[in-house]
């Protein structure tokens, strides 16, 4: 039986759960690379160029880690989610870069809603390539989507319940591949929790609602994931004490969108931009002072 490798980065944080359920149903063995560590980061740096963002560099590291441990790598090519909902060019190029860099075969599926390439079509193609019949694949797809929806709703409920907390509430506006990465967001989350902050995650909202809400701030936001993030600010703005913008250097969409949003919103906020050279000391100063500002400690 062939084994599929899933790099723990970028797309994994959006679709990993669907993939896992899909493969489980079809009993296809798969391997997910471990949490990002220095070794994976260094492998990634070796393959990347300086224009790529930190998250993409680590993604290449994950692919490098998996290349001799599986028969296929799963790397989607995500173009757009209909008009006005584009993804960043890194997402678009990932398939080709990995296909051309590593020897291992790459399972590919296109998501290009404008040209009728949906998530479903992609998974069917993968199922066929791995030798399953159509009926079985359809069952697996339905199962995966249903399971994923349940998991997602549970997470959204937990996230939204935090808005009622009596602690200091901070909305962390960041892409999930930064938020939950061990070398990017983990220490920030740890620090905030230690300081008794309730963290609300911008990616754990109902995207159908937040995507539309983003229009209140700007009508011509171009990137889907940015729109979802921006919408979460609008959704939560009256229930939170502050916003932390977290992005990986040099993220194109974030440098544009976060800048725009910071000029428009009236909530206290800070902007953190992380790179692989960052030590936590500078970040800590910013987080500590931000919490002080929110709690008005300077005024006791």
């Amino acid at each position: 039986m062939v084994k599929v490798g899933i790099p723990r980065g970028l797309f994994y944080y959006y679709y990993g759960n669907i993939w896992k359920h899909f493969f489980k149903f079809l009993k296809i063995p798969y391997i997910i690379s471990p949490n990002t560590n220095k070794d994976i980061m260094n492998r990634g740096l070796k393959y990347s160029n300086d224009e790529m963002c930190l998250a993409f560099k680590t993604y290449l590291g994950h692919a490098a880690y998996l290349q001799d441990k599986c028969d296929y790598l799963l790397v989607p090519r995500i173009d757009n989610f209909k008009q006005d909902n584009q993804t960043c060019t890194n997402f678009l190029s990932a398939y080709d870069i990995i296909h051309n860099t590593f020897e291992v075969k790459v399972l590919n599926y296109n998501i290009d809603l404008e040209h009728g390439e949906a998530l479903k079509k992609g998974l069917i193609k993968i199922g066929k390539e791995l030798g399953f019949d159509k009926q079985k694949i359809h069952q697996a797809y339905r199962y995966a989507m249903k399971k994923n929806e349940e998991d997602k709703q549970r997470e959204i409920t937990i996230n939204l319940n935090k808005l009622k907390s009596t602690k200091t509430k901070i909305l962390l506006v960041s892409h999930p591949y930064n938020t939950y990465d061990d070398l990017i967001g983990k220490e920030i989350i740890k620090y905030l929790k230690q300081n008794d902050v309730e963290i609300i995650y911008s990616d754990k909202f109902d995207e159908k609602i937040t995507n539309k809400l983003s229009l209140n701030l700007s009508k011509d936001l171009y990137f889907k994931y940015s729109r979802d993030n921006v919408g979460s600010i609008i959704y939560a703005k009256d229930k939170i004490d502050g916003v932390i913008f977290l992005s990986a250097f040099p993220c194109g969409p974030d440098s544009l969108v976060n800048e725009l949003v910071m000029r428009k919103i009236k909530i206290p906020h800070i902007n953190l931009v992380l790179d692989d050279t960052s030590s936590f000391t500078g970040t800590e100063t910013r987080l500590e002072s931000f919490i002080d500002v929110l709690r008005g400690l300077n005024h006791d």
Binding site: N37, K38, F249, L272, E284, R286, V293, N298, H299
Partner: protein, 311 residues
């Protein structure tokens, strides 16, 4: 015996110390270079402060701030360790309760703090890039063969500052070299540099923020008369530079040490205290964390840098 409180602000470039009494009078103060060795700098600082402090005072609190605040906090057994933004705000509010804007340019950081009725309403700090801070000015002064202390007065001589790119210091530097090579007088280049610091700051840190008077400018760069002049010119407002502007962080953290005093009495004597740090790289997993172990009188008081929390 009168009670007093010590605040120490250990920045990347300079180390500042201030001792205040219960009425916010500065009893002793010192400003020395950190020179890459905060522990040594603080030992020197304590010696200078000890000479200045009259015998009638008794030290009842120590606070540390600045980028080496945690390390020195352990060394001095401080009763409060706080970030420099809070410390600067508290220090400035002690002397200027009505302040609306604090501009601060230090050695590696630059920040802006907006206040209203004594409460911080907004602030920003430079992100990854350390462009337009004190260390840039001092390296450019060196390039031009000037002492950084005379840099400001030199800029005031100029009637016609050259235009230097304000976006990025790397561009600013190549601009500067170019201007020097085509023959612009030195004072015009220095003035242009001071102006580019101001524009850079307002574009990067101050962007989109409403800067309202009274405006206070502090941090090491506030001692540069040229930069002060161009802040005035660009903002069209009076810029207040306190004679103790370089000490504000230290004063602020001293005020906080007073607020959080525990009753413990401290000493300025550092000679009998042994303080060491040992760096090592952990090889237990692929993260290869750089660990720093801190010993006070040969006793391990803390260790930093571990991602897994094993140390």
């Amino acid at each position: 015996m009168k009670e007093c409180y010590l605040g120490v602000d250990i920045g990347s470039i300079s180390t500042k110390g201030a001792i205040i009494d219960d009425d916010n009078n500065i009893v002793a103060s010192a400003y020395i270079w950190t020179e890459g060795n905060p522990v040594k700098a603080v030992r020197n600082l304590m010696r200078i402060l000890k000479e200045q402090l009259p015998d009638s005072y008794i030290l009842k609190g120590i606070g540390t701030t600045g980028s080496a605040r945690k390390l020195i906090g352990l060394m001095l057994k401080a009763n409060i360790v706080k970030n420099e933004i809070t410390a600067h705000a508290v220090g400035t509010l002690t002397f200027y309760p009505d302040v609306r804007t604090i501009l601060e340019i230090g050695g590696q950081d630059s920040k802006i703090i907006l206040l209203k009725n004594g409460i911080i309403t907004n602030y920003a700090m430079n992100t990854l890039c350390a462009a337009g801070t004190g260390s840039f000015l001092s390296s450019q002064a060196k390039r031009l063969g000037l002492d950084v202390n005379e840099f400001g007065t030199y800029a005031l001589k100029s009637k016609n500052p050259v235009k230097i790119a304000a976006r990025c210091t790397v561009f600013a530097e190549s601009d500067l070299v170019h201007k020097a090579q085509v023959g612009y007088p030195k004072e015009d280049i220095v003035a242009g540099l001071c102006k580019s610091i101001v524009l850079n700051y307002l574009n990067n840190v101050g962007k989109g923020k409403k800067i309202e008077a009274p405006i206070i400018f502090q941090g090491g760069v506030s001692k540069n008369a040229g930069v002060v002049k161009y802040f005035k010119e660009v903002l069209g407002e009076e810029i207040i530079v306190d004679e103790n502007s370089h000490l504000m962080g230290a004063i602020g953290i001293a005020v906080m040490a007073r607020r959080h005093k525990t009753g413990h009495t401290y000493s300025l004597e550092m000679n009998n205290i042994k303080f060491d740090t040992k760096a090592m790289e952990c090889t237990r997993c692929s993260n290869n964390c750089e660990l720093l172990k801190i010993y006070r009188n040969n006793e391990l008081v803390d260790s930093w840098g571990s991602k897994c929390g094993k140390y």
